[in-house]
């Protein structure tokens, strides 16, 4: 997969922390002791910098969400039913504003499992390496998504 350039910015860290209702000054105030640092799950926000990210509506392209009708596309979109099963981070250091990270994602293992609550489950693993301007590894992220055969039974 193509490499993504992820500039780490203080305003983005503030918005991300706000969404978590996290008022820790190290996400909001440049004069905080130790200076601004990214919260632990901030690497996920690389999606903002992926030009092809499939879960962001784009100009001139049909979007599978509702508008005039409940879905903007015919049939079952293939991005439906993809849930997040696992996420693992390994931190070599924590990103800070001014870092320009290069993120390379590789596909890992794929496996299947039968579930009572959602039918056949297909798990897919993705491993992303976040490197800084010097090529040093900053964060390694391993995510597992699961595609379900049907919506997860809430019973």
């Amino acid at each position: 997969m193509a490499k993504i350039t992820f500039p780490v910015e203080a305003t983005h860290i503030k918005m991300f922390a706000r969404a978590l209702f996290d008022e820790n000054p190290v996400y909001h105030d440049a004069s905080a002791a130790g200076g601004i640092v990214a919260p632990p799950t901030f690497p996920q926000a690389v999606a903002q910098f992926d030009p092809d990210y499939h879960l962001r509506p784009k100009p001139g392209q049909p979007w599978f969400g509702s508008a005039k009708t409940p879905s903007g596309v015919e049939g079952k979109p293939n991005s439906m039913g993809g849930l997040h099963a696992e996420q693992h981070y390994e931190y070599h250091r924590h990103p800070r504003p001014g870092d320009v990270l290069t993120v390379e994602t590789k596909l890992g293992k794929t496996w299947e499992k039968e579930s009572k609550r959602a039918g056949k489950l297909t798990f897919r693993e993705r491993i992303a390496e976040y490197r800084d301007q010097k090529g040093e590894l900053v964060v390694t992220a391993r995510g597992v998504s699961v595609a379900t055969e049907r919506p997860v039974d809430q019973g």
């Binding site: 983005h12 918005m15 991300f16 706000r18 969404a19 978590l20 209702f21 996290d22 820790n24 190290v26 130790g34 640092v37 919260p39 632990p40 799950t41 996920q44 926000a45 690389v46 999606a47 903002q48 910098f49 992926d50 990210y53 879960l55 962001r56 509506p57 599978f64 969400g65 509702s66 409940p70 879905s71 991005s79 439906m80 039913g81 993809g82 849930l83 997040h84 099963a85 696992e86 996420q87 693992h88 981070y89 390994e90 931190y91 250091r93 924590h94 391993r142 049907r150 919506p151 997860v152 809430q154």
Partner: protein, 140 residues
């Protein structure tokens, strides 16, 4: 503020309410900040009428982020070396979430003191929505 090995022992716990009556708007705030606009989190009409769920639900990564808030409140900033989770149940608007962090081990690795932690985030019914582990550097 970094945890100190001397004032920490295996079995120590930190519990924190990380979400109260979670709103659809907070889920949308997370979509905007993270860049994940999946309609299952942002579009009630699509999610109920097309995807077949009772309502929109939170990103797993919102739950992990909220758990991360409890984690940094407990261990300090920029000290984690590992943080990994499994999402076990969905989180819905109106849910309140509590995270419990338990010290599982205190050890030395390459001249650095580390603490291994187990993580559990449950909803208002006591149902576990996320389980995980983390490792943090601590001061001697």
């Amino acid at each position: 503020m970094t945890l100190k090995a001397g004032s920490l022992k295996v079995g120590d716990k930190h519990t924190e309410r990380v979400a109260s009556n979670l709103s659809r708007t907070q889920i949308v705030m997370y979509a905007g900040a993270s860049g994940d606009y999946n309609t299952l989190h942002t579009d009630e009409i699509y999610t109920t009428k097309v995807a077949g769920y009772p309502s929109v639900f939170a990103h797993g990564m919102l739950t992990m982020g909220l758990t991360g808030k409890a984690l940094t409140n407990f261990v300090g900033n920029g000290t984690l070396t590992k943080f990994g989770v499994r999402f076990t149940n969905q989180v819905w608007p109106g849910d309140s979430l509590d995270t419990t962090i338990t010290v599982a081990d205190i050890r030395q690795e390459g001249g650095q003191k580390l603490a291994d932690l187990t993580l559990s985030t449950v909803n208002q019914d006591g149902k576990e929505v996320m389980t995980g582990t983390a490792t943090t550097r601590i001061d001697p």
